[in-house]
């Protein structure tokens, strides 16, 4: 029998299979196996997981890895290192690259980079429309064949509802989910933050929640019409969450994610023009943030997705109006989620972890996010109590545009395993 890795004495939580006990996990040949023979155990590599939680590796439906074309912000190596440091073993990357991922060639380029440099599993998405320009459909079938797991226009929203209807019908034929960033540009109108009290005070152009709500409505209606699965990215608005809640109760094939930052922060954080709180959709009112927590508790929101969006310090260190949108998130997502949901006693630990493991995996039919026998040995160990305060040099990511700099988090990943190999160990990436 080949080499066994024995993870001993941790609190094993496998939310999908409702497992939560202090026990052992055995790995061999990249898979989770049942308890092996005593001879194998005697020769096994052991990992002491006492006092730690052993969880399926986290699954992230929304990262920006900037390959091809913007590797000054992040590379596949640095991005997946960040993922591993954050306990993520499978990530889905967005197609708003340079050039955008609207041809089989670009998808292949990404896959080649992944094969060469990646620390964790990476699943690419492809554009809905050519160049994400919103004018004509990209070749969805060919993109699926090249390896795309879903289609999305990245940070853009296809404004033409007639074309969105065709995109949904067509993608549905291939069982490809359509992932949408919901924004009506005529309402968001170049806003740089939420339209509300803070934008009124600061004189910054505001984007109202209605810009999101109207497109969420549109997507719900088109999903109902076509039967296509439309997945709503980074919901931020109470109204949008209500629309999704009602749609789900009618059986519409819609799913939704939220980012850790929208879950933890409101527009008040923008009051001193800190560009590490500038994102799209913007941080909304405190009431919208509470609606997010309610939506996570009642199941309206299916999962948490990091939205990891690296930008260099010189790109972010400018006047608020000119800073690009987005923050890095992979390395702080677990701590932020634990802070907001588990340590605050809203949800128990298995439920909290389900939002980062099998629930996101299910949305894109990825066979990930569990610890059952025969599953890929993608798992991570973390200390739910360990406190840490990120600094700008704390990250594996090439970029450091994090809203969590100088803010306390409680919960840190100690080890991450991908396909049975340890790739991250207490702050260090291990490369084979």
């Amino acid at each position: 029998m080949s080499q066994v890795t024995w993870i001993k004495g941790g609190r094993v939580i496998d939310p999908k299979n409702e497992r939560d006990d202090v026990s052992d996990i055995y790995i061999s040949n990249g898979k989770i196996i049942d308890r092996p023979s005593s001879e194998s155990l005697a020769k096994a590599d052991t990992v002491d997981a006492t006092g730690l939680v052993v969880s399926p590796g986290l699954v992230d439906l929304h990262v920006h890895f900037r390959v091809p074309g913007e590797t000054h912000k992040e590379t596949i190596f640095s991005g997946t290192s960040a993922a591993a440091a954050g306990g993520f073993t499978s990530v889905v990357c967005m197609p708003n690259t340079s050039p955008p991922a609207d041809t089989a060639g670009t998808i292949q380029y990404i896959k080649d980079a992944v094969d060469r440099e990646s620390i964790v599993h990476v699943f690419p998405t492809a554009c809905i429309t050519v160049g994400s320009k919103g004018e004509r459909l990209a070749p969805t079938g060919s993109l699926r064949d090249a390896g795309a797991v879903a289609i999305s226009d990245g940070g853009k929203c296809l404004q033409n509802s007639g074309l969105m209807r065709r995109a949904a019908e067509y993608a549905n034929m291939f069982n490809m989910p359509v992932i949408d960033h919901c924004e009506d540009y005529s309402l968001s109108a170049n806003g740089v933050m939420n339209e509300g009290l803070v934008s009124t005070k600061l004189g910054l152009r505001g984007s109202p929640t209605e810009a999101e709500d109207i497109m969420v409505s549109r997507d719900v209606i088109l999903s109902a019409k076509t039967g296509a699965h439309i997945h709503i990215q980074h919901v931020s608005s109470r109204n949008a969450i209500d629309i999704i809640r009602r749609a789900k109760s009618r059986g519409v094939n819609i799913s939704a994610e939220v980012t850790p930052h929208h879950m933890c922060f409101s527009e008040l954080e923008v009051s001193d023009f800190n560009t590490n709180f500038k994102m799209n959709p913007p941080l909304r009112s405190e009431d919208d943030r509470l609606a997010i927590l309610e939506g996570l508790e009642d199941g309206t929101i299916d999962c948490i997705a990091s939205g990891h969006a690296p930008h260099t310090d010189y790109e972010k260190d400018v006047e608020f109006d000119y800073a690009p949108n987005g923050v890095i998130s992979l390395e702080t997502a677990l701590g932020a989620t634990l802070n907001q949901l588990y340590h605050s006693k809203r949800l128990d630990l298995p439920r909290t972890l389900s939002l980062l493991t099998y629930q996101p995996a299910q949305i894109l039919n990825l066979n990930k996010g569990t610890l059952e026998i025969g599953a890929d040995a993608d798992l991570m160990l973390f200390d739910p109590e360990r406190e840490w305060t990120p600094q700008s040099n704390s990250f594996q990511s090439k970029s450091s545009n994090s809203p969590w700099i100088n803010r306390a988090l409680r919960g840190k990943v100690t080890q991450t395993f991908v396909s049975g190999k340890m790739v991250f160990d207490n702050g260090k990436i291990l490369r084979s």
């Binding site: 109108a189 170049n190 009124t200 600061l202 004189g203 001193d272 023009f273 260190d317 400018v318 006047e319």
Partner: protein, 312 residues
């Protein structure tokens, strides 16, 4: 109350006592300006650099004049011809200017927060001459000083600010300063330019001109900020003037000796009838004159000058 700030970024962060200190200092400089040799050596040997990324007549000339009258050396840069057109960032620009021995910077820029941003980057005084729609503190200080001179105090004074509030830094800076000094402020204009959110800041919001102007001691007109708006805020200039422009009839709704104010520049015949701008009730040019003494005061205080040293 002594002034400890190296920068002047907003009126929102000032205390009422700090505003009174500015008034005291402004009054002292106004007296000095009335003398034959209208100059003081307060900033001799210092170089003040005006960085104006947006157009300006009053504010730029006032700051230049103010620095000159304080015996500083002044440089006024029209940033349209600067290397920002070659992609240089604001941060790099000001750090370079600081490296060229600037002692104080006065900045006007279209991005809200830009003045605060560079005040953190530099260790020399930074004065905000207008940052997008956010704040224009010296304007509000001169406006309130004008009212203070006219009425003795702003406490209980009923003031209407009429026009494009949403895109106005003058409206924002004034509402903070005026409410801190105890005035009752009403913001009035079309619903698309005067959102209700402003009510949270201790002012009244109105879209009905007659009730808003009734019985007011002062009305401040604001120009339509075309350069900041997008197209759909209201139908046309003509419509705006018909519905919200200040004319003789509307002026009569205010108190009998009410004052007409305007930060300038005026678009005659749009937000205000031409003849009203020149009427005896208008204090528009007094505002401008007070603007010189106010900016002398602000430069003086931010450079570490003491109000007591002037008044004795």
């Amino acid at each position: 109350m002594p002034w400890f700030r190296k920068d002047l970024i907003s009126t929102e962060e000032l205390s009422p006592e700090e505003i009174q200190t500015v008034f005291k200092t402004t009054a002292a400089f106004k007296k000095i300006l009335g003398r034959k040799t209208a100059k003081t050596p307060s900033l001799r040997g210092k170089t003040v650099v005006n960085l104006f990324f947006e157009n300006s007549t009053r504010t730029r000339v006032a700051f230049e004049m103010a620095a000159t009258k304080l015996s500083a050396d002044v440089m006024s840069l029209d940033m349209k011809t600067s290397s920002t057109s070659k992609g240089e960032t604001l941060r790099d620009t000001v750090e370079n200017i600081h490296a060229l021995a600037a002692d104080m910077i006065v900045i006007r820029h279209s991005a809200p927060g830009s003045a605060a941003y560079i005040s953190k980057v530099l260790d020399i005084p930074v004065l905000n001459a207008g940052d997008g729609a956010h704040e224009h503190p010296t304007q509000a200080l001169l406006d309130c000083f004008t009212l203070h001179e006219k009425f003795g105090s702003l406490k209980g004074l009923k003031i209407a600010i009429l026009g494009d509030i949403l895109y106005s830094r003058v409206a924002r800076s004034n509402l903070w300063a005026m409410t801190k000094l105890g005035a009752e402020v009403t913001l009035v204009g079309p619903a698309t330019l005067v959102p209700r959110e402003f009510e949270q800041f201790g002012v009244t919001v109105s879209h009905d001109l007659k009730s808003a102007l009734a019985d007011k001691d002062a009305v401040m007109l604001l120009r339509i900020q075309h350069e900041r708006q997008n197209a759909s805020a209201f139908p046309s200039i003509n419509e705006y003037t018909r519905m919200f422009g200040l004319n003789k009839t509307r002026l009569s709704w205010l108190k009998e000796n009410a004052v007409i104010m305007h930060p300038g520049p005026i678009n005659r015949g749009v937000e205000i009838d031409s003849e009203l701008a020149d009427s005896p009730q208008s204090v528009i040019l007094e505002q401008v004159t007070n603007g010189l003494a106010t900016r002398m005061a602000c430069l003086y205080l931010c450079s570490g000058g003491k109000a007591e040293a002037l008044t004795g």
